[in-house]
Symmetry: C2
Subunit: 169 residues, 2 copies
């Protein structure tokens, strides 16, 4: 079973965390939420979900995890202003471990400069950002690149995103 | 006196609209807020400012305005998901009219592909996006490029942003 690092902070897109997290746990995987401080509560932008942080980014080591999950909303943009989260995400891309991300999640990978040459999708507002960052953008419900990177666009894509993510972890 | 088109929607950074708008009006300029529908109310992300929209983007013609102002926050990312706002912003860049933008505002210019070769700054989380988009990023309180484009990083930069914006309009 996989131990999945999840980078999340306030203003995440509620169902983009809750639905995959529930599906991953149901299959026996462990979802570990990571933000600035363990014990922090972070709240989704719809106000529907509150998540307690399991681990501080300061104590989180990518080598302790099998995969990375980045839900969307404004959370990824808030996280990428802090270099610790960018470095953490980059390590998974460099090590070719599964990276599962939806909506605005690829913003963290842009800042990590980890999208160059990758096939991916994301929320329409970041399409041009992703292309400038060297990604080959596909307007599809889910894109799987190199048996490693799973990306989707919006909450409507969650069934496909969860299906392809579960295949990789 | 200048007629300043202002692209704004919910989750704008409150003082990044209110402070410049007040300063522009005090000097006799006209600030026209533009979003989807005239009469809409949009609210800042701090919940401190509510702005009534003057004009619908559908009726807004760039040639009716002397300058463009884009406050930051999450408003620019929400707007650039709609091609009408991207085209509107692009017209000011193409016509070399003053474009005044702070924080996340340059996101609209990235999607418009209008930052290539320009000197600019912006909020730290979009630095890499701006560089990928061809901008020469400077970590300074205000950057003025080509006597046209005024950019700043955060609310702390507002005095410099307002000072340089007023010189151009």
């Amino acid at each position: 079973m996989a131990k999945i690092a999840t980078l999340i902070t306030d203003q995440f897109e509620d169902v983009e965390y809750t639905d995959p997290a529930e599906a991953f746990k149901k299959e026996g995987h462990e979802v570990v939420t990571i933000e600035k401080e363990a014990g922090n509560s972070v709240t989704g932008k719809q106000g529907e979900a509150t998540v307690t942080i399991d681990q501080s980014i300061d104590n989180a080591n990518p080598s302790d995890f099998d995969a990375l999950f980045i839900p969307g909303g404004f959370s990824p943009d808030l996280l990428r202003g802090d270099e610790r989260f960018v470095k953490f995400a980059k390590a998974f891309m460099d090590d070719k471990k599964p990276v599962l991300t939806i909506c605005h999640g690829p913003q963290l990978l842009i800042t990590a400069k980890s999208l160059e040459g990758r096939k991916a999708t994301g929320f329409k507002s970041i399409k041009v950002d992703m292309e400038y960052a060297g990604a080959e953008y596909h307007d599809k419900e889910v894109v799987v690149c190199g048996n490693q990177l799973v990306t989707s666009r919006t909450p409507d894509d969650l069934p496909a995103f969860i299906r392809e993510s579960l295949k990789l972890i």
